[in-house]
C-alpha cells in the first residue's frame, strides 16, 4: 500500500518548517529559563527537598534570582562556589537552603571555571548512558506497532498493579498519566505519591518504582516493556533529565501542546523544549509530540492539515536539538466523526500520509477520544477501526483506545479489552497492507494529496509571518495565544554574555561525535 505523493511539495514543506524552526531557534539561543537552570542543577547531582517539600533546585534558583543574577546562569555560580569551597553541588544547595551560603558573592564578571562542573556532570551522564545501554541490550526490533496503554489511578502502587496486568495482556508501552495540573507547577514534586487526580504525579521516585516493576515483568514476560511520562509543562527539561536518569523510554514532549492547551508562555516553553530534547536525544529517549490534541478540539476532517504542518515543525525542532529521526514520535490521531461517510478511507489517507512523510519516525498514533460516547459497544467498534488503521498503515507507537474513554480513566479490565482488540486486529490484518493497492484518483488518494497541499500552504504562511503570529491567530486547535502572556513567562530571561549551559554543550558535542 503506497500513496503517490509529489516529492517537491514534501520538500517545500520541509524547507518552510526549517525556516520556521530557525526563527524560533534564534530566540531560544538567546534565552534561558528557571526550569533550564534547575535542570542543570539536577544534572550536577542535586536532589532532595527541604522541610517544606520545596526541591533544593528550586530554592537555589530562587536564591540566585533574589540575591544574585540568574541571567548569568547557575553554572556560573556553582563553578565559582566549587572553586571556592570544595563543596559538592548537593552540599552547596543544602547550604543555600539553610542560608549557610550566599551565592551573591560570586556575582562578578570574572569568567567562571565551568570545567570544575565536569566531574559532576560526567557522573550523571554516566548514569544516563548506563541506562541507555541497558535499554539497548534489552530491546529488539519489531514489525508490528508497539501497543501503548495508560495507567491513571493517581496512586503509583495501584498504577503498578495495573501496569503489570497490561504487560501480561500484551502491552509494550506503559504511560503513567500525570495528575491534572502538574504541568502548571513550577517545581517537580518529590517521592512516591498516592494522591493524584486523573493521573499520578511525575516524581523521580515514582519513575523509579514503575521502572523497577516493569523491569521485573519484562523479565517474566521476556519482552522489554517501555515506560512513558511527560516532559512537558513548566518543568519540561527537569523531567526530561529525571526520565533520562531513571530510564524512561519515551516522553510526551511538545511545547505546542503546553502553549495551546495549558496556556504556557511560548518563549518559556520553546526554550525549555530545546533543552529537554537535547537531553532526550542524548539519553536516546523517544519523544511523543501532541498534534493529536488539535483534533480533540478542532474537527479532524477540516483541520487534518494542521496536524501535518505541526509534524513538519516538530521534526525541525527535534533536528535542531540534534535528535535522530528514530526518536521523533510525531503525533497524529484517529479522531474523525463516525457519522461521516467513508470515515475509514479518510483516516487511512491521513495515517498513510504521515507514514510516508516521516518514514523513519516512530509515529505515535492516538485513538478515537472525542467521538467516544457512553456506548461502550460502539466504542469497541471505533477502537477496532482505529486498530485496523494502525496496523494497515504500519504505525509504530499505537496508543490503545479504551471503550470507556467517555466515562472514566481506565479500569484494569478496560485496558485488557483494549489489548484484546489490538491483538486480534494485528493478527487478522497482519499482512493486509501488502495485499492491497490504493486506486489512484480515489477518495484516499485525493484526500492525502489535498491534506498535503493544505499543509504546504499553511507552512508557507507560517514561514512568512512567524510561528508566534500563527499561535496568536489560533491556527492550531482554534486556540489563540500571545507571546507576552501565559504561564511561566516570568521564569524566562535573556542570557548574560557570560552565560553557560555546560550540559547542552557537552551533550551536543557527544551527539555530534556519535554521528
Amino acid at each position: 500500500m503506497k500513496l503517490i505523493l509529489d516529492q517537491n511539495t514534501i520538500q517545500a514543506c520541509r524547507e518552510a518548517a526549517e525556516k520556521i524552526a530557525l526563527d524560533i531557534q534564534n530566540i531560544i539561543d538567546d534565552h534561558s529559563t528557571v526550569a533550564v537552570e534547575r535542570t542543570i542543577l539536577r544534572m550536577l547531582g542535586i536532589d532532595g527537598i527541604n522541610a517544606f517539600d520545596i526541591p533544593y533546585v528550586n530554592l537555589v534558583v530562587e536564591h540566585i534570582q533574589t540575591h544574585a543574577d540568574i541571567t548569568k546562569g547557575v553554572a556560573h555560580y556553582f563553578a565559582k562556589a566549587i572553586e571556592n569551597t570544595d563543596f559538592s553541588p548537593q552540599q552547596i544547595a543544602e547550604k543555600i537552603a539553610s542560608n549557610a551560603i550566599d551565592l551573591s558573592i560570586y556575582d562578578n564578571e570574572k569568567p567562571a571555571p565551568i570545567h570544575l562542573l565536569t566531574p559532576y556532570l560526567e557522573n550523571t551522564e554516566r548514569k544516563i548512558l548506563a541506562q541507555k545501554a541497558t535499554r539497548d541490550q534489552w530491546t529488539t526490533p519489531k514489525t508490528l506497532p508497539d501497543k501503548y496503554v495508560i495507567v491513571a489511578t493517581g496512586n503509583i502502587y495501584e498504577d503498578i498493579e495495573q501496569a503489570i496486568s497490561a504487560a501480561k495482556k500484551g502491552a509494550d508501552i506503559i504511560a503513567v498519566i500525570r495528575t491534572t495540573g502538574q504541568s502548571l507547577l513550577d517545581y517537580v514534586p518529590y517521592g512516591a505519591t498516592t494522591e493524584g487526580f486523573g493521573g499520578t504525579y511525575a516524581t523521580q521516585e515514582n519513575f523509579r518504582l514503575m521502572r523497577k516493576a516493569l523491569d521485573d515483568v519484562s523479565k517474566t514476560e521476556n519482552r522489554y516493556i517501555k515506560l512513558v511520562n511527560y516532559a512537558s509543562g513548566l518543568c519540561m527539561p527537569e523531567i526530561a533529565a529525571m526520565g533520562a536518569i531513571e530510564r524512561l523510554d519515551m516522553m510526551l514532549n511538545d511545547s505546542l501542546y503546553g502553549i495551546i492547551f495549558r496556556d504556557i508562555n511560548m518563549k518559556r516553553t520553546f526554550v525549555d523544549q530545546y533543552f529537554s530534547r537535547v537531553i532526550s536525544a542524548f539519553a536516546h529517549i523517544t519523544i511523543n509530540t501532541g498534534e493529536d490534541n488539535y483534533l480533540t478540539t478542532s474537527d479532524a476532517y477540516d483541520h487534518a492539515h494542521t496536524v501535518v504542518a505541526s509534524q513538519f515543525i516538530n521534526e525541525q525542532f527535534a533536528k535542531n536539538a540534534a535528535m535522530k529521526e528514530e526518536l521523533m514520535g510525531l503525533g497524529h490521531a484517529y479522531e474523525i466523526d463516525p457519522n461521516i461517510e467513508n470515515s475509514f478511507s479518510y483516516e487511512i489517507a491521513q495515517a498513510q500520509l504521515s507514514r510516508q512523510l516521516f518514514p523513519n519516525a516512530p509515529l505515535k498514533y492516538m485513538p478515537p477520544t472525542k467521538h467516544m460516547t457512553g456506548d461502550i459497544f460502539k466504542g469497541t467498534m471505533q477502537n477496532t477501526l482505529f486498530n485496523i488503521a494502525s496496523v494497515v498503515t504500519k504505525q509504530n507507537i499505537h496508543l490503545l483506545g479504551m471503550l470507556t474513554e467517555a466515562i472514566h480513566t481506565p479500569f484494569m479490565s478496560d485496558r485488557a479489552q483494549a489489548l484484546n482488540n489490538a491483538n486480534y486486529m494485528y493478527k487478522a490484518f497482519k499482512d493486509f497492507a501488502d495485499e492491497i493497492r490504493i486506486e489512484e484518483g480515489g477518495i484516499i488518494d485525493q484526500r492525502a494529496k489535498s491534506v498535503l497541499n493544505d499543509a504546504k500552504k499553511l507552512l508557507d504562511t507560517i514561514a512568512e509571518e512567524g510561528l508566534f503570529k500563527t499561535l496568536e491567530k489560533g491556527t492550531f486547535a482554534g486556540v489563540s495565544r500571545s507571546q507576552t502572556q501565559g504561564k511561566g513567562l516570568d521564569g524566562v530571561f535573556k542570557k548574560h554574555q557570560t552565560y553557560h549551559n555546560p550540559v547542552i554543550d557537552r551533550m551536543l558535542k557527544a551527539l555530534k561525535e556519535a554521528t
Partner: protein, 246 residues
C-alpha cells in the same frame, strides 16, 4: 397508578440483565462461583457466568447474564426536566426582540482546574456543534467565552463587570466529585456576595443533568446532546419570568 417493571430481554418482565466486573481472584472454578455469588448478592438469579478472563495474577474479569427479579415502580420516580419550551434560533431571536429592549449578555467558562473547552465552545462559539450554531451567532445575544481554567472568583468578577444576564459554567472532569465541590463553591460565593438573584446561572457538561443542577442550587443543567438553542430557550424564558416577577 403504579407502573411496576423489570428489565426486558425478549419478553415483558423477564428481568434480563448483563453485568461485567473484575474480582480480585484467580481465574478458576472458585472464581467463577464467586462471580456467580456476587451477582446473586445483587439480587440476580439464574446467573450465567458467560466469560471469565485472566487480567493478572489474582484478577479475573467476568461477563455475566442473569435475571433481575427486583421491580421498581416507574410511576413513583420523578425526574426533574427543564420545563420551558424549546425554540429554534430564529424564534429565540424574535423572543428577545419582543420581550427585552436590549441585547442579553451570556458569559461562560470552564471553571476550576478544568481545561476542557469543547463543551462550552459548543454552546457559545460562532460555529456551535453538530450543526447547531453557538450563541455568538445569535442576534441580540452578546456571548463572552472566558475559556478554561477560570477561577470562580474571576468568573463572578467578569460577570459583574459585563453586567451579564446569564452565567454559563462547564464542568467535564468529575473524578472524585471535583465538579460538585467546584460548583457548590460558586453558589456559595454568589450567596456570600448577595448576587445569586442577579443572574440566571446554568451549568453543563458530560455528567451534568437538570436534576443535579437543581440540587446544587442552579437554575438549569444541560448534558450531552444539548445545544445552544436548548440553553438559550431556557435562559430567555427564565429571564422573561424574572422580569415579570420584579
Amino acid at each position: 397508578m403504579a407502573k411496576w417493571m423489570r428489565p426486558y430481554g425478549d419478553t415483558m418482565n423477564d428481568g434480563k440483565i448483563q453485568l461485567s466486573f473484575t474480582l480480585p481472584l484467580n481465574n478458576n472454578a472458585h472464581g467463577e462461583a464467586c462471580a456467580k455469588a456476587y451477582a446473586e448478592a445483587l439480587n440476580i438469579h439464574d446467573v450465567a457466568v458467560v466469560h471469565a478472563e485472566t487480567l493478572s495474577d489474582g484478577f479475573t474479569f467476568y461477563v455475566v447474564y442473569g435475571t433481575a427479579s427486583k421491580q421498581i415502580d416507574a410511576a413513583s420516580i420523578k425526574a426533574t426536566e427543564v420545563e420551558t419550551d424549546v425554540m429554534d434560533k430564529a424564534t429565540i431571536e424574535t423572543f428577545i426582540e419582543t420581550h427585552f429592549n436590549r441585547p442579553l449578555t451570556f458569559i461562560g467558562a470552564s471553571t476550576g482546574t478544568d481545561a476542557h473547552t469543547v463543551g462550552i465552545d459548543a454552546i457559545m462559539n460562532m460555529k456551535g456543534y453538530s450543526g447547531h450554531y453557538g450563541l455568538e451567532r445569535y442576534k441580540n445575544i452578546n456571548a463572552i467565552n472566558l475559556g478554561s481554567q477560570v477561577d470562580n472568583e474571576a468568573l463572578l468578577e467578569a460577570a459583574v463587570k459585563h453586567q451579564a444576564d446569564v452565567i454559563l459554567i462547564s464542568q467535564t472532569v468529575t473524578q472524585k466529585d471535583v465538579h460538585i465541590q467546584n460548583l457548590t463553591a460558586f453558589i456559595e460565593l454568589l450567596e456570600a456576595e448577595h448576587k445569586r438573584d442577579d443572574f440566571i446561572v446554568i451549568i453543563g457538561g458530560a455528567r451534568i443533568n437538570h436534576s443535579l443542577a437543581k440540587e446544587l442550587g442552579y437554575d438549569a443543567g444541560f448534558g450531552p446532546k444539548k445545544f445552544a438553542f436548548d440553553v438559550a430557550s431556557f435562559a430567555v424564558q427564565a429571564l422573561r419570568d424574572k422580569k415579570k416577577n420584579v
